[in-house]
Amino acid sequence: MRFERHRTFTFLGLLISLLILLVISFAASAEVGQKLFAEKKIVLQISDRDPLKQALVLNVANNLLQHYGPDQIEVEIVAFASGLRLLFKDNVNSDRIQSLTDNGVQFSACANTLRSMSRKLGETPALNPHAVMVSAGVLRIVELIDQGYVLVKP
């Protein structure tokens, strides 16, 4: 009897530990804004100044969301070099950025580029409040690829 209770407790303990580990692993992998049930993960790069590219990257993000559904896909747009203009606060596309952010798209802004632009401009340009700073845009892309993201550069 005592041996059976001990086995029961051990089994329960293992089960609970397993559950805790499961929760922790979910929590660890779930960064801010990450969708737990996302089947696809896409990182979109915007790194040039062409205004058509700005519209294109937003269009691609929107198309992905529409096709897969906002909960089934993880999309992050990484802006660096001249592409960081997309995330300037006064950018004409700020409406669309707001809309995409509301649907879970993350906009990452390269801090290296921002520093470089600040030197050229003489002041730090104001960024869209939804922009998330990352130390370097390229590094962020590499990091995301390591996490299983597919890189698309429209």
Binding site: R85, V92, D95
Partner: protein, 448 residues
Amino acid sequence: MLAGSGPALAVNWLKMQGTEPPGVSAQSQVWGFIQPEYQATTGTKLKAGSWRGQNTAANMTRPDFRSESGFNIIRARIGVRGTGFPLDSNVNYFLLAEFGNNGITRQGGGSVKLTDASITLNHIKGMRVRIGQFKIPGSEEGLQAIHVLDYINFTSGANQLLLERFFDGDGSTGKTSADDINKPNGPVGAFRDVGIQLFDWFYTENWEHSYAIMVGNGNGITRGDNDGKRELYLYWASELLLPGATPFPSAAHLAPPVWSADHHGPRGARYHTWKLFGWYQDGKRTLIKENAGEYDRTRYGIGTTLRRGKVRAAAEYFRADGMIFSGTDGGAVPGAESNAGGEFADVNVMTNGKANSAYLDFGYLLHPKLELDIRYDVLNRNTNISEEERIYQTLTLGVQYFFNKMSRVLFNYAFRDARAPNAATDADVNQILESMDDRISAQLLVIF
């Protein structure tokens, strides 16, 4: 300049022509357009007067008045616009030159003229500053981009009262030499001036409100002031954004895109809105030859435009006080010698005349590539000078076919009528006015 794309947008010409969309503008973007055309009348000669039997000025093709029909490159413009320094959207520039054959290039020497050269500073919220040579804030016909005009020719009111010609005299004394006739002393004003403009726009609910205050030389383009007197321009527009309509693809695609940095509204030159506007301009003109002196020149008007689905409509009424362009002696071509010899046709200006004008304009998109247009306009010139009063009425029928977003062809037929209401029907003046033919016009437009 980028072709219009996406939903058609509000016709805020101040925004479209003076500023660049922030965050997306190129450092420099080359653009332009070409408008070859054909115009023709039946070439009816003058039926009465000292130039009877000679060419009727109103029946001759612009800008040379040498033929009753012909092809012409009426406009060929190339320009560049942008932000200069792409990281800073607060400084914009706009440069445009005219290579076509028209009243801008034919007068004042040379064959190429600068039509626009301006810098806009967007640093102060609520008050943008534009400096240089650019379109004056005023009548819709004048302020809108010429390459989105739905007709080939302006209304009589716009052509005679607003598209200013500048003179040294008023043409009141007879000339004994063709070289001495009163004629424009430089390019037509092209609805532009050199000066400084404060302007901006803001939103309340679904309304976009715009204002502009401009001070200029009042002496036309590509030259400085001539009298030390400034011209004042005032403008206000309120535009209701109408939701839900599909893009109006007529000439919308032919207009440059307009940014919408304020989280409101669409982009483009054609959109679904109802606009109310009013404008006022006041200045002085100085004549140095016959009837030398300083004269007031005032223009003011109100109007409305509506664009909704397949339909567009516009109406405007404006008045003019002083410096009324009043055609040529006997209706003849400027500089033509009278039949009796020794007298040469002057261009006339009624320095103290008054006038008023109005138009109604409708367009219907029959097919995504085909638009039908109809416009009625009336000009009542020199209303305060009985013997000089003239009434011009024009009914223009038009068709526009859009090859693509950047090109279209227009066909217009204008039924034209003019009379002197205070003279007998068979008086010389009315016979001369009766000499004016209807006019057929065709124009091709390509934007690049």
